[in-house]
């Protein structure tokens, strides 16, 4: 488990991370969402021991990360702009990491390179951006570390590769103690992989929630009532987060379980009522609007 408590980091006069407290449970995929400059990368660099927090502490399984090689042996950090040794090939990079990560699985690495159609002896500098990202992920997976920090790793991957990487993650999660932390400014990329999500904005964390829990407790309903009076009464009974109306069709976001919501609506024998699945994006838009933020401005 990763615990960050009141972590702050300044770069000169700029506060990159401001008093962040977050808990990342082992075995879950944690998504770190925020705009550019929100502090995602800084947080990941601190979590991986590259940067030292100005205040607060980051513990990994209750051990401090900074200048702690034994803890860092459990972390593999894939930065946004991964550095590869000059003129190195994928095989060279595997050799490089093998010196640091004792459990680096070079057999599996070769196998995965084949699966991803990456040539082991081709110079990395001739790779495309997407290929480099794939290679980074493969190196990270094969390092067999408990924690894998990915900073904007899914950017640049085509949908097929993204799906492939997601399935590798899923496989790793089911087979071993694996906790990926994925930072991105794109909610859509994370929604089908993350278990838990934290939103960062201007160095501070806005919220962190279990995605499933969030999905179970908030729903989008499209419904048409018999008359305006019934409509008004029905909506009054619901815990509305957001309500829109086009003609007679109500498009509402309601807090509560699906069963609970539908029971309340069906009491009024609506002409039409249907639960429509909410995207992660929509959930966060709704949630953050409640706490006073216009999430569209924050994320998109």
């Amino acid at each position: 488990m990763i615990t960050a408590a009141n972590v702050t980091k300044h770069f000169g006069e700029v506060t990159a991370v401001n008093d962040i407290s977050v808990t990342i449970r082992s075995g879950e995929v944690f998504g770190l969402i925020g705009t550019n400059g929100a502090g995602k990368s800084t947080f990941l660099r601190m979590a991986s021991g590259v940067l030292k927090p100005d205040s607060g502490k980051i513990l990994m399984d209750e051990q401090p990360v900074y200048e702690n090689p034994s803890v860092k042996a459990d972390i593999f950090y894939i930065p946004d702009d991964q550095y590869f040794l000059p003129n190195a090939t994928p095989r060279d990079m595997a050799g490089f990491y093998q010196d640091y990560y004792a459990s680096f699985d070079s057999v599996r690495f070769d196998e995965m390179l084949g699966n991803f159609q990456l040539k082991p002896d081709r110079r990395i500098h001739t790779f495309s951006k997407g290929m480099k990202k794939q290679l980074s992920v493969l190196l990270g997976i094969c390092a067999n570390t408990k924690y894998l920090f990915c900073d904007e790793t899914f950017d640049g991957l085509d949908p097929v590769m993204r799906q492939a990487v997601k399935s590798i993650f899923a496989g790793e999660l089911s087979e071993r103690d694996f906790t990926p932390v994925i930072a991105s400014h794109n909610l859509r990329e994370l929604e089908d992989i993350c278990d838990y999500v934290g939103i960062l904005h201007q160095g501070g964390i806005l919220m962190q929630k279990d995605l499933e829990e969030m999905k179970l407790n908030i729903h989008n309903v499209q419904c048409v009532f018999q008359n305006a009076e019934e409509e008004k009464t029905a909506l009054g009974l619901l815990e509305l987060v957001k309500a829109e109306k086009r003609g007679s069709l109500n498009n509402i976001t309601v807090r509560g379980s699906e069963k609970e919501i539908m029971e309340k609506i069906n009491t009024f024998s609506p002409v039409f009522a249907e639960i429509v699945p909410l995207t992660l994006e929509e959930i966060f838009i709704s949630e953050t609007e409640v706490v006073g933020y216009d999430i569209k401005k924050l994320i998109f």
């Binding site: 090689p69 042996a73 972390i75 593999f76 550095y83 000059p86 990560y101 004792a102």
Partner: protein, 740 residues
């Protein structure tokens, strides 16, 4: 689990990654060791007589000794290359993200890189030295002593490498950008040397009495400045110490072994400093100009101040009026402004930042102005300072141009160590109990006489001020003092004195006639030098001959000369032309150069009767005059004042009158063949070879006419020697000669 051999893996990894580094170093070492050695050997084989020492000696003492300084330049370059390339990753955010996220402690990572850098130099360097040793062994010039010299050579070069390498690592750690890292390396490597240079330039410009005698005047490692920069240390280490005793001087070049320890300690301290900086350095400093913001104002001030003044000196050097303050002040202000703006741009990495930090700008401006005022107006009283008698242990004095010693005193058989007369006297003279010494020093410091320089223009001679100044300065002479204080320090001052002032001349005379002054004024009388000579050159007005003397005869000659020299008065020097000179010579092993003088000419005056008699006994009659019948023809030419003599007047005003450059007039020389006229000329001329050094205090030569004698027999020495008349002894027929 991380491998226990991670440290070595890291070294191997770094070596593999930077393999170009040792390859480049190997090539550089190959060129500066093997190729240079082979070239030198070839020269020894082709021209064996060019050297006064054997190849074995050359390899041991020169190649792996004195010339090690050449290798040190290559070593420093290699150190910068290894240091900056090894820690260049600190300047790159993407590389920092990789290396600092790896499960390895920074300390281990630092030392692995550090050792790897050292190995990248050490392996190719030692390999090249071994090849060199093999080449030398092939020529059978390697002895046990050579092996020791080679081991010392490797040890010293490695120490220098670590020193320079650590500086580069420190610079890489202090900065976040490669260009600034390179600049920082340069500044750290040479900062104290720059301060030494600046101090020398400032003092030489603004203090009239400034004089450097220590370290052979090598301002790069001024002893009053903390020589923390490797450049000062290395130069000091390789500089031959001023050998003031014969025992020291007789040694071949040796390293200043007492300084090896300093180099070693410095190398260790610099390495530790590099480590501490590395550990304290934040990863986010990558890409920023400076890693520690707290150091920013300090660095700015430390760079802006000295380099502003150096800019002042640069503009002075460019200007034709190097003595004027105008261009100096302009240079300082210009340099200051440009540097301040440049530093801000470097720090901000943007032109917009150029005018930021006005407070610091103001602070630096005040500091610069303060330093200027302190030097320009001698706020510390440097020129007027004379130590109190109670502070003084002894005093050394060197009166310039009074005794015609050579400019350099040769002090060992290899011809590598030379001392100026001033250096010798400052090191060997300890005058005590002669009140005239300090009285003259105080008088000179109080009067603060100085040569005044004029900007020459056509017709300046018509200016009474100019002519009066030149007339007055005609009597100005230099005198150097070395105050040896009770606290162990020695301070040097040089003063201008006016010998037209009777009091000054009296004091000067009392100093010159001090037995200890004379004894310590030339190494000839220094028993501890225990010199023996190959020949003595006896030169008189009409003859110059080298005579070989036995050691007993040499001692006898020096003893008699010394006895009479001790009785020589300043009055005699001023009023009596010498009849000859003796010059003690070494025979060079090189056939092309027969002799090298070790002490310069020592004049023999008519009062030195015993010396003259002894030399006569050895076969040379210095007072011998020529007979007209030996001479075929005498040519007399009149000389004119050289048209540009103002240059000499202005810049060498000491001898404004007597140092005038004469050139032949366009007309031909007048030839005299009449026996009576020849005899009259011969009776009144003296050799002009004594004029040059006697000019300082003597005024008895009439240099308007140049006399050339052509002898009947061409094998006579000096068959075309030149002479001049003594003042007031110009024959009437020459004076009235219309063709002259």
């Amino acid at each position: 689990m991380i491998s226990k051999n991670l440290f070595f893996k890291l070294i191997k990894q770094d070596l593999k990654r930077r393999i170009w580094c040792p390859i480049l170093i190997f090539v550089a070492c190959f060129l500066s060791l093997e190729v240079r050695m082979l070239m030198s050997m070839e020269e020894f084989v082709r021209y064996p007589n060019r050297h006064s020492y054997s190849l074995t000696l050359y390899i041991r003492e020169y190649f792996f000794g004195r010339e090690a300084l050449i290798m040190s330049i290559v070593v420093c370059m290699a150190a910068f290359l290894c240091g900056l390339s090894g820690y260049a990753y600190l300047h790159s955010k993407v590389q920092i993200d990789l290396y600092h996220s790896l499960p390895v402690s920074r300390a281990r990572f630092f030392w692995a890189r550090y050792v790897s850098g050292v190995m990248q130099f050490c392996i190719p360097f030692v390999l090249n030295v071994m090849i060199c040793t093999g080449i030398a062994a092939g020529r059978k010039v390697v002895t046990a002593e050579t092996v020791l010299a080679i081991i010392s050579f490797i040890g010293i070069q490695m120490t220098i490498f670590v020193l320079a390498y650590s500086v580069a690592v420190i610079a890489a750690g202090l900065t976040g950008n490669m260009i600034i890292g390179i600049l920082g390396t340069g500044v750290l490597f040479s900062y104290s040397a720059v301060l030494g240079l600046l101090k020398y330039l400032m003092a030489a410009r603004f203090y009239d009495t400034y004089k450097v005698y220590e370290n052979r005047g090598n301002f790069i490692f001024d002893s009053s400045i903390w020589n923390f920069s490797p450049l000062s240390m290395i130069i000091k280490f390789f500089s031959s110490p001023t050998n003031t005793t014969m025992a020291e001087a007789q040694k071949f070049f040796t390293y200043d072994t007492s300084y090896v320890g300093v180099l070693l300690i410095a190398a260790v301290l610099y390495s530790l400093a590099a480590y501490l900086i590395f550990m304290k350095r934040a990863s986010e400093a990558a890409g920023k100009p400076i890693a520690f913001r707290i150091a920013e104002p300090v660095i700015k001030t430390m760079v802006v101040l000295p380099f502003s003044f150096l800019s002042g000196f640069f503009f002075c050097a460019m200007s034709s009026r190097s003595d004027a303050d105008t261009w100096f002040v302009f240079g300082v202000i210009f340099g200051f402004t440009v540097l301040c703006i440049l530093m801000e741009i470097i720090y901000r990495l943007s032109l917009r930042g150029a005018l930021m930090h006005k407070k610091q700008f103001l602070f630096n401006a005040v500091c610069t102005a303060l330093v200027f005022v302190v030097f320009r107006y001698d706020v510390t009283g440097y020129d007027t300072y004379v130590p109190a008698d109670s502070q003084l242990q002894s005093c050394a004095v060197s009166i310039s141009d009074l005794i015609p010693l050579g400019q350099e005193i040769r002090v060992n058989e290899f011809g590598m160590h030379y001392l100026s007369p001033g250096e010798y006297r400052m090191a060997n003279m300890e005058l005590q109990g002669n009140p005239s010494v300090m009285e003259l020093a105080r008088k000179a410091a109080k009067e603060q006489l100085a040569f005044r320089y004029f900007d020459y223009y056509e017709g300046i001679e018509e200016s009474p001020e100019y002519m009066e100044t030149l007339e007055r300065q005609d009597n100005y002479r230099w005198i150097d003092f070395g105050y040896k204080l009770s606290n162990g320090k020695t301070l040097y001052r040089t003063y201008v004195i006016d010998i037209a002032d009777p009091d000054t001349l009296r004091l000067l005379s009392e100093i010159f006639e001090d037995y200890n002054y004379k004894l310590a004024s030339t190494p000839l009388f220094n028993d501890s030098w225990n010199l023996t000579f190959d020949a003595v050159r006896c030169e008189s007005n009409f003859r110059s001959e080298d005579i070989t003397l036995t050691p007993q005869m040499q001692s006898e000659l020096i003893g008699v000369y010394q006895k009479e020299y001790m009785k020589l008065t300043l009055d005699t020097i001023i009023n009596t032309p010498p009849v000859g000179s003796v010059d003690f010579l070494f025979r060079d092993k090189n056939e092309e150069m027969l002799y090298t003088s070790y002490s310069g000419k020592m004049y023999v005056y008519p009062q030195f009767t015993e010396t003259l008699a002894l030399i006569k006994e050895y076969g040379i009659d210095m007072q011998e005059r020529l007979n007209a019948e030996d001479v075929a023809v005498i040519r007399v030419k009149k000389q004119n004042l050289y048209s540009n003599s103002y240059y000499h007047r202005v810049y060498y005003g000491t001898y404004e009158r007597r140092n005038e450059m004469y050139t032949s007039v366009e007309n031909d020389a007048v030839e005299y063949t009449d026996q009576e006229q020849i005899q009259e000329i011969l009776d009144n001329i003296v050799s002009d070879s004594f004029i040059w050094m006697a000019r300082g205090y003597a005024d008895y030569y009439d240099e308007r006419y140049l006399v050339t004698i052509q002898f009947e027999k061409s094998d006579l020495m000096y068959s075309y020697a030149t002479h001049c008349f003594l003042k007031g002894q110009l024959p009437a027929f020459i004076q009235s000669e219309k063709n002259l």
